[in-house]
Assembly symmetry: C2
Homo-oligomer: 160 residues x 2
């Protein structure tokens, strides 16, 4: 993970992709979102979603999962090069989450993000805020979800 | 679940509460958000969060879990009274998710929502949209998370 000063507007990152199988869709839904169209093929077909569909929270949580994996991979590489590595902070929230198309059983979703804003924070000295538009795209090239994520990032000299 | 015509602006619902134990926090984080402050007590204490803290996605997913449980309970009661019951549709997204305070291991979070908008949809005949402000509050009375949820709801005569 870079320091705030290293983050460039427009920087594009790819986080990899994830296959939403019927089994994984039902497992997440059973624990967190047990609506019929997330649990049962026939109920999904009869719904606005048109088939067994992943919970939107599942699609969003996988974005987080892949972003962290990518960040940890980059951090390990930077440490191996002997660089000082910043540990990113938590997130104060996000905006405009849109579930644009259903994620159906069998879909493979690719995640990416683009930095849209970088600024220092008045309330947390030594930290700043990065905003990034996260995009999830299916195997047909259709965007299925977008949101604007916000994360705290340390400034130079605030390494841990 | 009511039909669109039954939903009243300002209607307040309570979804119940959930105890975020260290074990549950680490289990969710391991699968979806493996950042140090969600996995390790000492890393949490050294972070901006001040202790082992639940992933914000975990706090949000539990809101969904409790809302669905409350909705299924209400639906079962309505069916037992012989009423025609609407099945709510999926959600097109939500807005302004704010993680305001950390949810630390041992916290018990109570969830509620209030209807802020009801409107028919032009694009999906027979359906409308309800917007509700969801609020999560800890055992000290502090609001820890809010978001503005949106859900499709059928109009009268569109029962399934």
């Amino acid at each position: 993970m870079n320091f705030l000063e290293d983050v460039v507007i427009g920087h594009h990152s790819e986080f990899g992709s994830f296959a939403f199988t019927a089994e994984l869709i039902k497992k997440f839904a059973t624990e967190f979102d047990p609506q019929p169209f997330h649990l049962d093929e026939e109920a999904g077909r009869r719904s606005l979603l048109g088939g067994l569909a992943a919970s939107g929270w599942h699609v969003a949580a996988v974005a987080m999962k892949l972003r962290i994996a990518e960040s940890q991979r980059a951090t390990a590489e930077a440490k191996a090069r002997g660089e000082t590595v910043a540990v990113s902070g938590p997130s104060p929230g996000f905006r405009e989450l849109r579930w644009i198309k259903p994620v159906l059983a069998g879909d493979t979703i690719s995640y990416a993000s683009e930095v849209v804003a970088v600024r220092a924070t008045a309330s947390k000295p030594g930290w700043g805020i990065v905003q990034a538009r996260t995009t999830a795209t299916n195997q047909h090239g259709d965007v299925v979800m977008t949101f604007l994520a916000t994360v705290f990032l340390p400034q130079q000299g605030n390494a841990s």
